[in-house]
Symmetry: C2
Subunit: 190 residues, 2 copies
């Protein structure tokens, strides 16, 4: 998606440790018009008319997933990080390792809001090692629901998460795959 790559080129910053900062339009300040364009782009790859929900993970995926759900006319559900006492029993749970927080995180999702009849499109703003998405896929499997596809705005290709999903044969698409990011700049995969 050329528009997204152009925003990354112009506004993205590379921090030490291959951290790519795009918080001016994606995951701190959010350009909602761009989210609409991303949602429209996903619709070229996924059967958005055949889904019953958009699923994402707390927190930064919520904005994009909300706009996608709005466009496709379905609810948006987000898996929570555990430890809130606002969710009673009856949970799907998956354990993931958060590189952002440098610790294990438990994703939880109420069984009330995901069941075997659901056809799920997973959406997230960013993929690095793919732990968050792996956890979401696990939740969908626990529910016996159908995974229609996985749409990611920006993939850090050099961290392998996206390639693992491709090897598994999943219907996975990332709109901008970054092959390399260092002090010389950002290079996209063809």
């Amino acid at each position: 998606m050329e528009q997204l790559k152009e925003r990354i080129r112009k506004e993205g910053k590379v921090l030490p440790g291959n951290i790519i900062k795009v918080d001016g339009f994606l995951n701190h300040r959010v350009d909602v018009r761009l989210m609409e364009d991303i949602a429209a782009e996903f619709a070229k790859y996924f059967d958005t008319k055949g889904i019953t929900m958009v699923l994402t993970a707390e927190a930064s995926g919520i904005a994009l997933a909300t706009v996608c759900a709005q466009k496709y006319g379905v609810p948006m559900v987000f898996a929570k990080k555990a430890k809130s006492d606002n969710i009673e029993g009856g949970l799907y749970q998956s354990e993931i390792f958060s590189y952002t927080y440098k610790k294990k995180v438990t994703q939880i999702l109420s069984k009330e809001w995901l069941n075997a009849d659901d056809k799920v499109l997973i959406v997230d703003d960013f993929m690095a090692n793919g732990e968050a998405v792996r956890g979401l896929c696990d939740l969908v499997e626990q529910a016996g629901a159908e995974l229609v596809g996985i749409g990611i705005a920006i993939e850090k290709g050099f961290q392998g998460g996206g390639d693992r999903l491709r090897e598994m044969g999943l219907n996975y698409h990332a709109l901008a795959v970054i092959e390399n990011a260092d002090e010389h700049g950002i290079v996209f995969r063809d």
Copy 2:
């Protein structure tokens, strides 16, 4: 807002400890159409044409704030909970006590995305004791920005957060104020 009260009456559950669970449409599974109606309702109370951004707090406010920002044609910015290493220096910070997590939480916001020229509408899905919103107001003040208003979907009136904001003379509106919630049901403030 009668539509919102009706949803709370029909779908809300009261858990021990006066916890009001509305996670089927507001903060776990999100009914995006309802968010659009809430955004339209806020526009009756606030000068949404005069704002430069919608500000909320991670995580559950993001969905509603995104739809509001979309409707008003401005970016959505969310304050993060500290400990992510994806944000470099230059931060506004506010300390709040999270009753959900039973601990102090530091809200952080990059100085890049909020400055003295901004006119800010704060939006959140839920208010109990008001700590999250107090922290957001503090961030706006640190930036020297103008606080245009504070819009909340559901206020737990009996926990005092909303009343404190009213006493301060802030332009605060909640669309459904719950006066009491127990095993006998949910009662709204007139």
